[in-house]
Symmetry: C2
Subunit: 329 residues, 2 copies
């Protein structure tokens, strides 16, 4: 079977290879074999290929990938909660491969009529946005939240989740052509990043309460978000897009009681009881199914062109996610 493989960190398109690996074989009792259909390339995957992901680099070689969607191909003895042909989330990590054998408890049948591209992106971006929106600062209706990289997958999820929670979002982007599409998508306010962001935000939201800033960028972008916050507000940093350390003026921390915290989805997986995780995903799945959560897709590449796909995903200036497909176009 085909599999993507990371043997040496480097430029994403150099680091990723397509290799032929042994088929996982027949499922044992209580196992399933899943045929992969689609997976997205997330910013975390790019960092991983570059050797910049996690506190400690993973051992190599490894098969990348945290999510994706596929179909149950084979059932081991005693597996009754799914049947052959059911669409399921790919058991991960290591989803960038054609076929995966896993404990049956790690899959569940997805509804048939939901766009598989959106399902392929369910596991990472929606809970990231949802947890950052709710778990650091109480999400009171009427409050504002500000985020940068607002055009990202997480950004799109956050806009819709904030709206559903009765909150309003200030969305910061770096390209003028994103202003109108994000407004059309449901963003309450969209502003270009740059000097005096805080002045422009306050001119727009007046004395609105803005206790939460979501930062995917780092560097001076963190500092600009922090200035926009109400006193006592929290910046939640979850991304390393600039490659620069997060900056916060000591005036914000000391005199305005602004805090900086970090979010990593993997920590949530490790620290949260299984049933709580399942509940959260059921809620998020229903929001994908009813169209509340929807992430733009810029291109779908066949797996044979995975080097092009990761190069595309690593380029700035995209307007949607890059997906990779195992099914012939």
């Amino acid at each position: 079977m085909l599999s993507a493989q990371l043997s040496k960190f480097g430029r994403p398109e150099d680091a990723i290879e397509l290799v032929e690996l042994p088929d996982p074989g027949e499922p044992g009792p209580g196992e399933v074999v899943v045929d992969s259909e689609l997976f997205p390339i997330n910013p975390a995957d790019i960092l991983n290929l570059e050797g910049n992901y996690g506190a400690v680099p993973p051992g190599l070689p490894m098969i990348p990938g945290a999510e994706g969607v596929g179909h149950v191909a084979k059932l081991g003895a005693g597996v009754t909660h799914v049947k052959a042909g059911d669409r399921v989330l790919l058991p991960g990590p290591g989803t960038w491969r054609e076929r995966i054998k896993a404990p049956a408890g790690s899959v569940f049948a997805l509804p048939g009529r939901v766009d598989p591209r959106q399902l392929a992106m369910l596991r990472v971006n929606p809970p990231t946005a949802d947890l950052m929106l709710h778990d650091f600062v109480a999400a009171h209706a009427g409050n504002w939240v500000i985020q940068n990289a607002a055009n990202s997958g997480v950004g799109h999820c956050l806009i819709r989740l904030a709206r559903q929670a009765g909150m309003k979002s200030v969305n910061v982007v770096r390209r003028e052509e994103l202003l109108a599409p994000l407004r059309a998508f449901g963003a309450d306010v969209v502003l270009l990043d740059g000097p005096e962001l805080d002045v422009r935000v306050r001119a727009t939201i007046g004395d609105g309460v803005l206790p939460l800033a979501i930062d995917a960028v780092g560097g001076s972008a963190t500092l600009r978000l922090a200035r926009c916050l109400s006193d006592g507000g929290t910046v939640v940093n979850y991304g390393l897009l600039s490659g620069e350390p997060c900056m916060i003026d000591a005036r914000e921390t000391v005199f305005r009681n602004v805090s900086l915290r970090g979010f990593w989805l993997r920590r949530w997986f490790m620290e949260t009881p299984r049933e709580q995780i399942a509940t959260r995903y059921r809620e998020l799945l229903s929001k994908v199914a009813d169209g509340t959560l929807s992430v733009e897709v810029e291109a779908v590449y066949p797996v044979r062109r995975i080097k092009e796909a990761v190069a595309h995903a690593a380029r700035p200036g995209r307007s949607g996610k890059i997906l990779v497909s195992f099914t012939p176009a």
Copy 2:
């Protein structure tokens, strides 16, 4: 009466003036008049003279000063809990003046045999160190705490308070000649700031638990402290010595769950019930009285030379606090 006055922000020695102000006159019922004896010049005072203190600059002209010590000179009708001649903390803010009239409830008699220079420094540095040590991270005996600017007044207090709580301190300084004196003072570990601070800290403390970093400096110094922390640790920033924004690598925030928070003593005063504040000061006063808390003094200037005093206090490379005295030398 003589008073220091700030009429225009600028270089500290230019910004401060000595002026003649009207005497506050006789105390009304329930008031006292206090004659000032000594006050320290804190880093916050220097920031204030420069116009860099607080979220919003104060209205000018103003009389600076947050603390000091003096004697009760006159009692208004009905005041019985202090008597003329009692040494008291100066009622503040605005302590840099020769004589102060204030509600009697704002003063209490200090023990007679305690060094007045240490009492003059009771209000700001000791609670700053104490609150940062205890109120952000549970202070478990055996744990480590790391701080920079360890030779400051707060730094000295933190070393002794940590030791008394059964914790051990890593103390980061920028000058080699401070290593031995700080060790003699009770610092468990003293290291020079610079490259690979985290490697040197770990080489010294092994797998010791280090959940708390105290940062007075900002800039890349914050980043270096953050790297030393155990996973999930907290940096508490309380100072702006570098004038640079605090930096924290997104790897610390995202992958290691390191947080950055701010501390401002004034916020504690504003948010804490009066009786709780009084209790904390009684405890800290007993630690000053028994010698646990003791801050080095580099020089005492007569008030007539206050411009020299603030210039001295603003210079880097001091080895103790600068005090100003109203009593003839």
